[in-house]
Subunit: 397 residues, 2 copies
C-alpha cells in the first residue's frame, strides 16, 4: 500500500497539459495565464500630475516668486501644453505635466487672489506631486509571468498594456460519475435502504468554484453498463472522477472494468484515513481515472489532496497557496500506521497564529461535519500523539 | 473628515436587501443561503454496513460459533433482507444491515472454506462496522443555517435532504463607471497624455470572482453627460461604483451632479492613505454611490475595505472570514494622522504565524504592485511606528 506522499507523487507525475486558448479579458477571471505580459509603455507613460492645483517652474519659486498668474489649463486627457512665462498652468490630477513646469502646488497650499492669481502659503519642495514617467514600470518590463491566476489586479495590468484578450490554459473536460445502486435522484423520495445522490453535486460545485463546468453521470453497478460508459468517457474527457465502487465489495466492478478497458491501475489503496480505498489509474490515452471512496468525507479529502493538485499542475498553475500549514489547537491521538486527515476549522488567533480547531468525526463522516470546518489537517503516519501547538500541513476547501 | 471606522459604519448602515430567489443546485455555488436546511430523515437513514463482509448475530458468536454458512446476499440498494438462521448474510458497504443481524465481520478477518462458508479468524466486537441509523444526524436537525455561503459540502447537504433548488440571496445589479477624459479603450493606441481604461476591468473581475456580473460604463467628464447617465443608472441598478472624478479638480463634476440628482453625500474624504478622496452617497431611492478614487491602488483598497463589506451585509452573508489579521513582518513608519493601508504578501511561517510582508508602494501605486501582494494591512492612524511582530487587521483580495 502506498503512503500519501508516494500516492501523491504518482498522481502528480501524470499531470497533463490541456493546451491554451485566447479569452476575452472579461472572461479571464480565475484563469491561468500562459504568456508573459510586457509593459508596452513606461508607467506612468508621462510625467503625471498627482494633485489638483497649479504647475510652476521651480526656478521662479527659488528666486522668491510667491504669486503666480494663470497662463493656461491642463486637465487629464488634454494634449501637453507649455508654460511659456513665469506664471502657472492650472492642472488636474491625471494630467500630463505641462512643458517647462517641474513642480505642482496643490490647491490646499494656495490662496486665490481677487485678480485670479494664486498665492503660495506653504513651503513647497522641488518636483513635488509629480508621478515621474517610468517610475513605476519601465518600458519592456515583465509585468506578469506565465502560470499566475488572473484576478482583479492582473486584469488591470492586461488592460493597461492593451490586451483585451489573454492567452490562458484551456479548462479540462471533467466527468463526475456516481456509482451505487442505493443512490436515487435528489428529487426522488428514497426507500428506507436508499440514499439521495449527493457526493457528485459536492464535486460538481467544487469544480465550479474554480471555473470548471463538469458533467455528472450516474451508472448502475453493472459490468456491461460501466464498461460501455467508461469506454466512452475515456474518449471524450480529460479526466474521470468517480465516486464509490472502489472498495472490495462483490459489486465493486470498477477495478475489473478498468483492467478490461486497458487502464493501468497505478495504485489502489493509500495508507490514509479517511480515503484508504482511493484508486488511481491511467488509460492508454493518458486520461486519468480518480476512483474516490464513496464516503463523503473521504472523497472530499481525496479531491483536495490529490485531484486538485493534479489539476493545478496540469493547468501550469505556478503560484503558491497562502495557507499551507496551521497550528493544531487541541491534542489528538491516532495510533494507526496511517496518515490521518482531520477536518479543522481555521481562524487567526489574537497573536496572529493560524489555528486549526479539529472537528470530531465519527468513523464514517458526513457532509454536515464538513460544513462546520474549512480544511483538512494532515497528521503524519509515524506519530500517534499530536500535541496542541504543533504545526502541520492543511488543505483548504 | 471621517475616520476609516466612521466611514465604514456609515457605509454599512446603508446595507440593502436584494431579496431572494430559488436557484438550481448546480447554480448555487457561492450563493448565500436564505433558508434553514432541516434533516428530512435521520442520517444515516438506516443501520448501514461500513465494510464488505458478512452480517451475523452476535449471540451465535458469543455462544462459540466461528463458522457461518451463507444464507443470503445484501448489497447496497437492495431492500432489507432477513437473517433467519444462525449463519450469515454476505453484505456490501452501503447496504442496510439485514434484519436480526447486529455485527459485521469484514472479509479481511475471514477465511472462505471450500464449502463456501466463512470462518472467523480474528477477535471481533459486538455491533462492529455498523454506522447506526441517526448517529450522524437526527431527523429534524438543522443542517445549514441562513447566511452561509454554499460550497461543495453545503451542496451535498442540500442534495441529501432532497433540495434540487435552494433559496438564496438575489445578486445585485452593479454598475461600474469609469470617468476621466484621459482614458481610452483597451484596444486603442493611447496618445502620450492618455491611458487605457484598466480600473473598471479590475473591478469587473473582482465582482465576477464573487459571482456578480456587473455592467461597465465610461462617461466623458461633462456635466450633462454625467447627469443624464447617472440618473438612469440610479433607476436601474442596486449600486453604482464609480472610478475617478471625486478629487477636487476643476472637472470633477461628480459631487455637483450627485447633488443635483438629489443624492445625499454622506461623506467625501476619509482619513486614510491611500483612498483619501473616497466619496459615498445615497440616492433618494436608497441606491448607494461609491465614488472610488481613480488611483488604482486606492480604488482597489476602497473596494475591499468598504464596498464588499456593504455588499456581503446586503446579501445577508453571516459567516466570518478566516483571514482577518496578520503579523507585520518588517517595521514601517507612517507619521501622518491617517489610517495607512499597505499592500502585503501573506504567507504562513514555519511556526504557524500568518505573516504579512509589506510591499513598498510609491505615493501613487499601480496595479503591478498589487499583483505581487494579496492583501492590504490596516495600520491605525494613532501610531507612527509599526514594529515587526505586531498584529494588525488585513483585507484580502
Amino acid at each position: 500500500m502506498l503512503t500519501v506522499n508516494e500516492a501523491f507523487e504518482t498522481v502528480i507525475n501524470t499531470a497533463a497539459d490541456f493546451g491554451t486558448e485566447l479569452v476575452a479579458i472579461k472572461q479571464a477571471e480565475g484563469r491561468i495565464l500562459r504568456e508573459k505580459i510586457i509593459a508596452d509603455r513606461p508607467f506612468p507613460p508621462f510625467d503625471r500630475v498627482t494633485m489638483d492645483g497649479i504647475a510652476i517652474k521651480w526656478s521662479s519659486y527659488a528666486e522668491g516668486k510667491r504669486t503666480f498668474e494663470i497662463e493656461d489649463l491642463q486637465a487629464a486627457g488634454m494634449p501637453q501644453k507649455t508654460l511659456h512665462g513665469n506664471g502657472c498652468v492650472e492642472v488636474m490630477t491625471g494630467a500630463i505635466v505641462p512643458e517647462n513646469a517641474d513642480t505642482i502646488i496643490p490647491y490646499e497650499d494656495l490662496v486665490k487672489n481677487e485678480t485670479g492669481s494664486f498665492a503660495v502659503v506653504k513651503e513647497i519642495k522641488r518636483n513635488q506631486n509629480i508621478h515621474v514617467r517610468g517610475s513605476d514600470v519601465e518600458l519592456g518590463a515583465v509585468l506578469l509571468n506565465e502560470g499566475i491566476r488572473i484576478g482583479g489586479a492582473e486584469t488591470a495590468v492586461l488592460a493597461t498594456v492593451g490586451k483585451d484578450k489573454a492567452l490562458v490554459s484551456k479548462q479540462p473536460k471533467i466527468a463526475i460519475v456516481a456509482t451505487g445502486d442505493e443512490l436515487v435522484e435528489i428529487t426522488d423520495q428514497p426507500e428506507q435502504h436508499q440514499l439521495r445522490m449527493s457526493n457528485v453535486y459536492a464535486l460538481y460545485n467544487q469544480f465550479k468554484n474554480i471555473g470548471i463546468e463538469a458533467s455528472i453521470h450516474h451508472f448502475k453497478d453493472d459490468k456491461e453498463v460501466l464498461s460501455a460508459n467508461f469506454s466512452l468517457l475515456f474518449k471524450e474527457k480529460d479526466a474521470i472522477i468517480c465516486s464509490g465502487g472502489v472498495s472490495a465489495g462483490k459489486f465493486d466492478y470498477i477495478p475489473q472494468v478498468l483492467n478490461e478497458l486497458g487502464v493501468t491501475i497505478l495504485f489502489h489503496k493509500v495508507k490514509q484515513r479517511p480515503g484508504k480505498p482511493f484508486l488511481f489509474g491511467l488509460a492508454e490515452n493518458k486520461v486519468p481515472f480518480f476512483g474516490l471512496p464513496g464516503n463523503p468525507v473521504s472523497g472530499f479529502m481525496c479531491l483536495h489532496r490529490f485531484v486538485f493538485p493534479w489539476l493545478f499542475k496540469s493547468l501550469q498553475f505556478a503560484q503558491e497557496s497562502i495557507i499551507t500549514r496551521a497550528v493544531l489547537a487541541s491534542a489528538l491521538k491516532f495510533d494507526k500506521p496511517l496518515t490521518f486527515f482531520v477536518p479543522v476549522k481555521l481562524s487567526i488567533s489574537s497573536q496572529g497564529y493560524l489555528m486549526a480547531d479539529p472537528h470530531a468525526t465519527n468513523g464514517s463522516g458526513d457532509f454536515a461535519t464538513l460544513t462546520s470546518a474549512n480544511a483538512f489537517m494532515e497528521l503524519p503516519e509515524n506519530r500517534d500523539f499530536f500535541e496542541a501547538g504543533e504545526v502541520y500541513p492543511v488543505w483548504m476547501y
